[in-house]
């Protein structure tokens, strides 16, 4: 069966520090991969999605970047975190575009 792992679960970082969140998927090949940010108790904002290795689509201009160095690995990064980067970050995968998505447990990021 397929599983998705996302870590860390929580992270507290100072303003201006770098960021690296990692997501890996097991049990499937060539998945579509997604990074979302979610405000407290509300909907999902799509940040990046990838349909293959090295292929990244950015949905909103921001302080973040994404990379997909391997088929089932998706990384969210920042060189210098801002206070506004605080939030709940979710990684997800699907077999194809528009198909149901399967989510990790999320990372709660707090910027001080």
């Amino acid at each position: 069966s397929q599983t998705i792992h996302q870590w860390p679960a929580t992270l507290v970082q100072p303003v201006g520090s770098p960021l690296s969140l990692e997501c890996t998927v097991e049990g499937t090949s060539n998945p579509n991969l997604y990074w979302y940010r979610q405000a407290a108790g509300r909907g999902l904002q799509l940040l990046f999605y990838s349909v293959g290795i090295g292929q990244i689509s950015s949905e909103v201009p921001q302080n973040l970047s994404a990379s997909r160095p391997q088929d089932r690995q998706f990384i969210l990064s920042s060189k210098k975190l801002l206070l506004s980067d605080s939030g709940f970050y979710l990684c997800a995968w699907s077999t194809r575009s528009n198909q149901p998505q399967h989510f990790g447990d999320g990372t709660r990021l707090s910027i001080l």
Binding site: L44, A92, N98
Partner: protein, 113 residues
């Protein structure tokens, strides 16, 4: 402009009551997905509806896709505290962008014992 409008935004009810939440759009989707999310966790898929007028039941949950595939509803019978969570709908196959899901902002449901 939000392409998928969910209502109500918040709902607090007593155990045993029935409720309906809505997901509406002026756009046509090829499919509509419903997810439930509990605090501190990722959303979990409940159901996918793909045919206009389709009705699917999942125990006490009934999902309906509108005839024109522009809207959907989720009805919960005899709600229980375990139904508490954020209910999200997501539309696939939107004519404007066929490569990603369009998400509603969610309905936050609290079922009080």
């Amino acid at each position: 402009t939000q392409l998928l409008e969910q209502s109500p935004q918040f709902l607090s009810i007593q155990e045993g009551e029935n409720l309906t939440v809505y997901c509406n759009s002026s756009s046509v989707f090829s499919s509509l997905q419903w997810y439930r999310q509990e605090p501190g966790e990722g959303p979990v898929l409940l159901v996918t509806v793909v045919t206009g007028g389709e009705v699917k039941k999942l125990k006490r949950l009934t999902f309906q896709f509108g005839d024109a595939r522009k809207d959907s509803s989720l009805h919960i019978t005899a709600a229980q505290p375990g139904d508490t969570g954020l209910y999200l709908c997501a539309g696939g196959g939107h004519a404007g962008n066929n490569r990603k899901l369009i998400w509603g902002l969610g309905t936050s449901l609290a079922v009080n014992p």
